[in-house]
Symmetry: C2
Subunit: 309 residues, 2 copies
């Protein structure tokens, strides 16, 4: 990545799964190895400790360990956007400060998600307090719109309000609504806003509409295929490449996340650190695991990826 | 409280609001003063850092400060049940360990609430890991059923499974569903189970059905009235006393929690520590505050309570 792309992250970002020890602590060395592999496969960047990374199931201390492991890895920090949201303002501040101090490309911040139907004023106050307390011009905030899990949508009115208050700092949004019209509406209302699709299924559509790329769970597995879409997105063949990506997505999406991704990583790498999930998430059953791998193996575009096994 | 009631908490428990400094840190001395006042008013116990106490909006460190402030207060620790739930297992363990080390009467534990529709197996694993990691026979867990906010119900099947696995430790449940039939069903299925109603509106019904009492936000304000219901629950006059309690509840329930409770506490005590809420919760508007206080002042049973102003 050159300096410009470092300042404005673009392309294919994996919402990285978090390998764990048998005692359910983060496995830092397996995590760094996974980040390296994702970048080798063609990811433009990695987003640890978000939804797929079981960020909310990890303590603040454990999440800080992941940020520190990334910092010590030697990987350019411009490749990382860290999930730093929390229901607790003080925790979001601590995580975001660490991510900024590490010179990461940005932070992905869920709204506080325990209290239901918070006011726009209350949400704006959460993000304002966070930004003011971090107090660092290097901060780049990606708002995290995932209403099915957070139950708290990021409305266009909130985006407008925060962009006006913090024009350089509110850098973009990850749209995990599954509703393409939400991204399309934002890109129309706020040209140049850094909209990442939460699904690689919208990667091409998002790029064509002026969006920035995707931050996706499935690209833990399909980084190489998503990279081909991104590399060719201005060309006619991009549609066919997107279809190849979608075929894999259709298989992965039959199984719960992050269990499905961890199962594939375990098979590909043989590393036991992929078999553990923090409760309440559970690993796939043996039968699910077999069916998933058979489904993937039936797709020719998965051959080079599965060849690592 | 004698040793028996300390071992099996019963009666009227306030889900205590958390006073904050202007910098949004817990105000320990105002917190302890509030606990003392609640007990003087007739509360049998206090439940800090739950939903009303903005527990999920506080960092683990801030929640530990509250537990420590209670420990140093000189109040008998058998009067406290602490909210120690978290989406992160390691955080729930750290908080629960501290609450047990402090000899509290128990802990009130939300299920992990970020991931939606977790399996019963996954929830059982969360509570099992928590109990096993704390590893202390003194632990008494109250499951926290608040599906509107947590989105994750505690099903009777889960209660059965956990009671079977940890018969002495799974002590009861706080039912904040607002659906009386849920409590009634549990008491029928599990006689002697420590069911607290999450609303003082069900206090009398719950006691008559074999339940343990209530853990309620409104009793921050109406402890004296709820105490009268509890003291008289076997007598005919209990219905009239419950009605007097319900009249106040009807006024308080028009306004958002915990803002309404904090507003009343600010008026009653004159302490500025009650004016701050952690985002996304917001204080009442001036108009709401005036209407709330007028509504309360119109009720004769509120006179002795408001006389503190």
């Amino acid at each position: 990545m050159n300096e410009v792309s470092a300042a404005h992250p673009r392309g294919v970002f994996a919402a990285a799964v978090t390998p764990l020890t048998s005692n359910l602590e983060p496995d830092s060395s397996a995590f760094v190895a996974h980040c390296r592999w994702l970048l080798e496969q063609g990811c433009d960047g990695v987003v640890p400790i978000g939804t797929t990374g079981e960020g909310n199931s990890l303590s603040v201390g454990q999440r800080l360990e992941i940020i520190e492991a990334a910092t010590r890895s030697g990987i350019a920090m411009s490749r990382f956007i860290f999930g730093t949201g929390s229901c607790a303002l003080a925790d979001a501040v601590a995580l975001t400060r660490e991510a900024v101090a590490a010179n990461s490309a940005g932070v992905l911040v869920l709204p506080p998600f325990y209290y239901k139907e918070p006011s726009e004023e209350g949400l704006a106050r959460f993000y304002s307090e966070l930004i003011d307390r971090v107090g660092d011009d290097r901060l780049r905030v990606y708002l995290y719109h995932f209403p099915r899990l957070s139950t708290v949508p990021i409305t266009p009115a909130l985006v407008k309000r925060l962009r006006t208050a913090y024009p350089g700092i509110i850098a973009g949004l990850k749209d995990s609504s599954g509703d393409w019209s939400f991204s399309a509406g934002l890109l129309k209302q706020f040209p140049g806003f850094g909209v990442f699709s939460g699904s690689e299924g919208f990667l091409l559509a998002n790029l064509r509409a002026g969006g920035t790329g995707c931050i996706s769970a499935n690209v833990n597995v399909t980084a190489a295929l998503a990279h081909r879409v991104y590399a060719a997105w201005r060309e006619d063949r991009a549609d066919r490449l997107q279809q190849e990506l979608d075929q894999v997505r259709a298989v992965l999406d039959r199984y719960p996340l992050p269990a499905a991704i961890k199962h594939v990583m375990r098979v590909i790498t043989g590393n036991a650190a992929w078999q553990y999930l923090l409760p309440p998430n559970q690993p796939l059953s043996e039968e699910e695991g077999r069916a998933l791998m058979a489904g993937l193996a039936a797709l020719p575009q998965m051959k080079p990826i599965l060849a690592r096994t």
